[in-house]
Symmetry: C2
Subunit: 91 residues, 2 copies
């Protein structure tokens, strides 16, 4: 499902126009990203939690040249589905 399909499905299910739905979906994404860039997590009921995790730096060895490289630490976004979502997917 792409964004267009998501927006039209939401417009069908609710009283809002596609334009309104689309702008609210964008605003939601932008609020979530804003929180993530400040390293805050965002919890959405019946769904899950978005958070930013720090991946530690690590040493990588090229198996052919045996050369060692230091991979710097980085921040990655993770989504942790909550129990309600997990059980709905399992069944």
């Amino acid at each position: 499902m792409n964004n267009k399909e998501l927006v039209s499905e939401l417009a069908n299910r609710t009283k809002w126009s596609s334009k309104d739905v689309s702008s609210l979906v964008s605003a939601t994404v932008s609020v979530i990203i804003g929180e993530l860039t400040e390293e805050n997590s965002v919890a959405i009921p019946s769904f899950g939690t978005f958070e930013v995790k720090k991946k530690l730096e690590r040493v990588l060895v090229n198996p052919i040249t045996k050369q060692r490289m230091l991979v710097p630490p980085k921040m990655v976004v993770s989504f942790k589905p909550n129990t309600s979502l997990k059980s709905r997917i399992k069944s």
Copy 2:
């Protein structure tokens, strides 16, 4: 950020009431979950893609008793941030 804070932030940024925002956020979550239960992925621009992945069955060995157990295959939800989100988090 919890759901209440997300909803009030969205209501501040838009022309909608908290009640309207809250019902649209729930509807969005419910459409996404509906797609995931049918094993469809959902792509949201500037954000990422939700998808369901099958984790294969695997054999687990209890390190003390050496007993082998078969862990059955299962479906898990994963969120893959897209390039735009990744680069915003990195910086």
